[in-house]
Amino acid sequence: MMAELRTEEFIVNMGPHHPATHGVCRLMLTMNGEKIVKIEPVIGYLHRAIEKICENRTYAQCIPILDRFEYVTSMSCNYVFSLAAERLAEIEVPERAEYLRVIMLELNRIASHLLFYGVTAMDIGAYTPFLYGLRERELIIDLFEMTCGQRLTYNYIRVGGVSKDIPKQFVPQCRKAIKIIGEKLTDYTGLLNENPIWLERTKGIAVLPADLAIAYGVSGPVLRASGVQYDIRRNDPYCIYDRFDFEIPVRPNGDCFDRYMLRIDEIRQSIRILSQALDGLPEGEIRHKKVKDATFKPPAGEAYARIENSRGEMGIYLVSDGSKKPLRVKTRGGSYNQLQVLPQYGTDMLIADLVANFATLDVIMPEVDR
């Protein structure tokens, strides 16, 4: 009887406005019943031409524009652009500024992973973790607000240093915040890792093989969850990361569960870096004396700067022609490649698993569309 039932493939549009696509991404799914046959991402809904806008701005004016490039971790956007400009102009940044940068970058990484923890769990159907993740993220956002007055787009890290020194209460409050977050991590994993539904939905689901990940330029936690130990903080060191003692977590399976757990592991390592940076924070200048926002002109040349962001490799390819505006600002974000690899391994599974898969890739659309 079953053999005589006629079936045919059909198309389901997931998005552009779908709660699980974290922004406006449309996935055109060719379905055979509940199985996915083909995934075709359709992007560009959030294209704001950031690269073109930057070409018509001075270097200092580019930084608040680039805040919007990847707004969940805009400290990283500020930093990677500053790093590229500093490489062009061959500027040494004062010690205190380097420490402040590490503190901000790592706090932002934790904030991003906490958001990931919350929304991923919510996508898969658990609501409580969302409230927990955002509650602890608030502690970090408060620290940013106290430092630069902003909660999302910071415009804090500038070429040659940082824009403001931290207020007096920052260090004690930051120590308190990372202590609380460190303790809560056990709650987080306790909530999910002993839940049979969660394990069923994530373990062994959507395995991304390591060679495919490397071929498609996948980086960051997604790559390391596939068993590749590659972290730009270690492999192509920038800032002062070579001074800190921390581990690069790696997990072997490449499934949804490993991608989620890897980010929890990373929060622990970020807390280690933070406590070392807070202990070692020296007094002194926070900005290179010769860099003035209005007149900054790096000599002609080109440089690619890349850093380890919470979504993988974030890079800026910066070309200067010696004038006060950049000739070319090419932005590269981890989400772009994570979304590009999705059609290669995300097929032949249930549509419900695609939601878990997409959530654990942690793609955010402003970084893809720019």
Binding site: G44, Y216, G217, A300, G301, Y304, E313, Q340, D369
Partner: protein, 157 residues
């Protein structure tokens, strides 16, 4: 391998197909001829001391005189970084696709095709990407392109 050793190794082993440029400020930067692109890219990936298996970034640049296509590559296993670029004339700019060598290039090349109008040969999917499907106003990242409502102020000091 340090950056200097890498630059020396490339000069020694690539028969001058990768010419060093001094405008690179951090990582070694080379120039490649359009005809040699695929050979060089394949050799970079397959050379057992280099193994450039990871494409970080690929982009077009418009310098007003010509186009450039820049490849930023890395080696995950050997932990190396390298940039190379090729220079194309403004008229009928076209470049071979490297997606056979680095599959990640697919989207980057598609984006470059759309925003710069640099034609990519042997690419499997050159269709509209970031811009609207009915876009007919040219290639926005070219230097001679301005948005219709964009007003360029006179340059001050």
């Amino acid at each position: 391998m340090t950056k200097e050793e890498l630059a020396a190794y490339i000069t020694e082993n690539f028969d001058g197909k990768l010419k060093p440029l001094d405008s690179g400020r951090y990582d070694p930067l080379f120039e490649v001829e359009a005809d040699d692109l695929l050979d060089v890219a394949r050799a970079l990936k397959e050379d057992e001391n280099l193994r450039f298996d990871y494409l970080c970034n690929l982009c077009g640049v418009d310098t007003k005189e010509h186009f450039e296509v820049v490849y930023n590559v890395a080696s995950v296993s050997k932990n190396l970084r390298l940039d190379f670029k090729l220079i194309l004339p403004h008229d009928n700019a076209e470049v071979e696709s490297v997606q056979e060598i680095w599959p990640a290039a697919n989207w980057y090349e598609r984006e470059m095709w759309e925003l710069y109008g640099i034609n990519v040969l042997n690419h499997d999917n050159l269709t509209r990407f970031l811009l609207p499907d009915d876009w007919d106003q040219g290639h926005p990242l070219r230097k001679d392109w301005d948005a219709p409502d964009f007003v360029r102020l006179p340059e001050g000091e």
